[in-house]
């Protein structure tokens, strides 16, 4: 997760204007590594969900995390497509702020998940 969020934060910093001389399309060379890490968090996330499905699925914070994570990944995918064509996105500040917001919400929601569940085991419903 730290690699996924980390690479996205680095791209967001570049998009909001930090180190403008750093080539944005150059990030595409790190992105395959990022997508591998996404696969890893997908598998481990699914395992955690299967271990305690009721704990996550009954908690609205879980859906907040899922939505923020999905939007964040779609933004990264869109950027990756542009980088492959050696293009830089227009309105870079908006892209950067949106990416920062998505990842900050994902992390915050992920951490708060452990403290906001009202149901632990699915057996409660049977």
């Amino acid at each position: 997760m730290a690699f996924v969020v980390g690479i996205n934060l680095a791209m967001a910093l570049r998009l909001i204007g930090i180190t403008p001389k750093l080539s944005l399309p150059g990030f595409r060379k790190f992105l395959p590594f990022h997508w591998w890490a996404v696969g890893l968090i997908g598998v481990s996330g699914l395992a955690l969900l299967l271990a305690y499905p009721a704990k996550a699925l009954t908690n609205p914070v879980f859906y907040l995390k899922l939505v923020a994570l999905s939007i964040g990944l779609v933004l990264t995918w869109q950027l990756h497509k542009r980088f492959r064509r050696n293009e830089e996105p227009t309105q870079q500040l908006r892209w950067g702020v949106a990416m920062l917001a998505c990842w900050v919400i994902t992390i915050g929601a992920g951490r708060f998940l452990a403290y906001t569940n009202s149901v632990l085991l699915a057996s409660r419903f049977f």
Binding site: M1, A2, F3, V5, G6, I7, N8, L9, A10, L13, R14, I18, T19, K21, L22, S23, G26, F27, K29, F30, F33, W103, V104, I107, G108, G110, R111, F112, A114, Y115
Partner: protein
């Protein structure tokens, strides 16, 4: 040690904040953001030194590193808040001890990098490789930070009996 940390936590108000309903998760969120900043900048630079991202300028990528350093300081602050609020959960925990050891190695490794490698690396062309010695430093850094993450996660799940430590 435990008592001194608890006293500090109580006198500074950290204890009250951390034991409020949202104190711990807020500090954890900031801790993870700091860690991600560190991995996204220092880790990315390490990957570049190891040969990934050929063509990406070492010099310009290095300009993101100060953000990693600020992430590190965020983690020192939030880490101190965790430690001082529940010292018995950390001081005798082998996962925490391993994390601290790896952080110390990463710190020494960083000093090594800045004492002999930083200037030559900054002057290296974007499409050129760095020396094997610099790659070793980058690999040690990356391994240490991965170990720090794993150690940090294991703290929660590793509840050793009291007074378990390397020096006890």
């Amino acid at each position: 040690m435990e008592e001194a940390l608890l006293n500090f936590s109580q006198l500074s108000g950290i204890y009250a904040f951390m034991h409020s309903p949202w104190g711990w998760p807020i500090a954890e969120s900031i801790h993870f953001l700091g860690l991600s900043l560190l991995i996204g900048t220092v880790g990315l630079f390490d990957l570049r030194l190891l040969g990934l991202g050929q063509g990406v300028s070492y010099q310009y990528l290095h300009r993101l590193v100060p953000f990693g350093v600020s992430g590190y300081f965020l983690n020192v602050i939030t880490g101190t808040m965790f430690l001082s609020s529940a010292p018995d959960q950390y001081l005798y925990n082998p996962a925490f001890q391993t994390k601290m050891l790896l952080m110390a190695i990463a710190g020494g490794n960083m000093l090594l990098f800045y004492s002999f490698a930083n200037r030559p690396v900054q002057a290296t062309a974007a499409d050129a490789d760095v020396t094997p010695a610099v790659k070793t430093v980058a690999l040690v850094s990356l391994c240490c930070w991965c170990g720090v993450i794993i150690g940090g996660r294991l703290i929660t799940y590793f509840r050793p009996p009291y007074h378990w430590c390397f020096w006890c």
